[in-house]
Amino acid sequence: MDTLMSRKKRILCSVIAVLIAFLFLFPIYWLVQLSFKPDMEAFGRVLTYYPHTFTFAPWMENLDDPVFMTSLRNSFINAFLTMSITLVLGVPAAYGMGRYKVRGSRLFLLTFLISQMLPASLTLTPLYLIFNGVGLLGKHVTSPIAIAASAIPFAIVTLRPFFRSVPVTLDEAARLDGCGPLRAFFSVMVPAVKTGIITIVVISFLNGWNDLVYSMTFNVGADMRPLTANIYKFQSAYGTKWNCIMAYGTILVLPVVILFIFMQKYIVGGLTAGAVKE
């Protein structure tokens, strides 16, 4: 709106922005600072706003626990498998939807848009019964199968415009050089939409990492569950030891923060999906 702001106004806006950031990031600070408090301070009568005594003990208590380490590994498996399924199925479909106008493309698009809106609750019970029937409960791949079902439509809807914006001449040239459709797709189209693909990689990874409901429903045994789905188990083990619980939470948030810091451009770009043209 105001491209030319007065110096005074710019400073005022910056101050307000810092206050907003402080307010919004304070809960995350709270999570992290609690994870470095010794037991006495974490559940003492007096609430402290920063660790008066600094300790790694709550972190170590988690990291020394074999169940925690298994859950951590499961979280990575969950995220990685979700990402893989989403890429393998979503990227080609986005290409097909973006580059070709075929009979039924409206139906395809509508299906993908609707499936993106469906709540997990709707498919949870039937999927549980289906997976139970075919012996898929308690397998690493089971939750990713379900999570990918909503990550794929997201990938298609987000990537489709990326594929559309690639000049037609680019893959025509590849075809003239004798590339088959698959070669043209992998060697010309995919590299051309690299930015969009990174977005899908990051967001589908986070989908798998953040998932709670599928992962706790389909993984019957605690040793198969990722960190999100094992929160209750650790909460009952730790009782009121909030420092340990928060160390658990901090470790769970850490990969998200790291990805966010380095991949922010791609994440934000994906969420608004091409609204702001670069």
Partner: protein, 310 residues
């Protein structure tokens, strides 16, 4: 994960010109599209139909193995709507959704207007506050549980300004507001993000000429911003409804629906039926009610998308 296809309008229009393809090329398209389409039909379409069928049966853990469940018509639905707890849960879901929408949208819009301005820190901070939206909802739930404890952070802060806070999560009247506050922490940045991209699509020239004509801030907002943002606003509100109405993770970790169902919503209630009581058909029927509510709003949203595509 969320997306707002609506906002891609600009790019799509650019690409409106058709890509001419031969019959051979058409076949290739199906080769690329069909695997994902079939996958979605299998993992989402089929379970959806299965869920509808299930809601008309009496399947539970006892007759699951024997396969002795039978069709009982709409009895599950009749029982649900005759059950006071279910009606409370339905009410909670709407109260939660509408309250979240109001706060997320108004505050998110204010933030969008604010951060859209050009000042040194706007870009960085706008990005930074999105982190609450990206992190696992389960951790948000843990955090909520901690800061809303009776002698937790929120009440400690309130005490400093001389207010004695309620026992947030053990009190049936204050538990839902606590959950709503936590959800807004996640929803505000997201609303802001989508609205900013709506705002950026308004040309600066419009504002400049309005300013030359002497329009003040209020006039510019109500006569330019709001009318031009109308469809973006509808899209954000509908998407917000769709994604808030199906809440599960936050309540499940923060309150587990309690105390006394005061924070139970359709998502958690359906889960309780299916996976605590193992009354699969009751869980399915609850999920169908959730779906029916989303369906109505979803149709409006798709209608809007369709109009934008034309």
């Amino acid at each position: 994960m969320l997306t707002a296809p609506f906002f891609r309008k600009g790019l799509d229009i650019m690409q409106k010109r058709m890509i001419s393809v031969s019959a051979q090329r058409r076949k290739e398209a199906y080769f690329f599209i069909l695997p994902a389409f079939v996958y979605i039909l299998l993992v989402m379409g089929y379970p959806m139909v299965y869920n509808a069928v299930l809601s008309l049966k009496n399947m539970n853990v006892k007759n699951l193995k024997s396969g002795a469940s039978v069709f009982i018509g709409f009895q599950n639905y009749a029982e649900l709507f005759g059950n006071e707890t279910f009606l409370l849960v339905l009410k909670n879901t709407f109260v939660f959704t509408i309250a979240c929408l109001i706060f997320q949208f108004t505050i998110g819009f204010a933030f969008a207007l604010f951060f859209k301005q050009n000042f040194p820190l706007s870009g960085i901070i706008r990005g930074m506050i999105l982190i609450s939206y990206m992190m696992p909802m389960a951790v948000t739930g843990l955090l909520g549980k901690n800061i809303f404890m009776n002698d937790g952070l929120v009440n400690n802060l309130l005490k400093r300004i001389g207010i004695i806070g309620p026992e947030w999560l053990t009190n049936t009247t204050s538990s839902l507001p606590a959950v709503i506050i936590m959800n807004c922490w996640v929803g505000i940045p997201f609303n802001m993000l989508l609205l900013i991209s709506g705002l950026t699509s308004i040309s600066n020239d419009v504002y400049e000429s309005a300013m030359i004509d002497g329009a003040n801030w209020g006039q510019r907002f109500f006569l330019i911003t709001l009318p031009l943002m109308k469809s973006a606003i509808f899209a954000v509100l509908m998407l917000g409804f769709i994604y808030t109405f199906r809440a599960f993770d936050l309540m499940y970790i923060m309150t587990k629906g309690g105390p006394l169902n005061s924070t139970d919503v359709l998502g958690t209630y359906s889960y309780m039926f299916s996976f605590t009581q193992f009354q699969f058909s009751k869980g399915a029927a609850t999920a169908m009610v959730l779906f029916a509510c989303l369906f109505v709003v979803g149709m409006f949203y798709l209608h809007l998308l369709g109009k934008e595509e034309e």
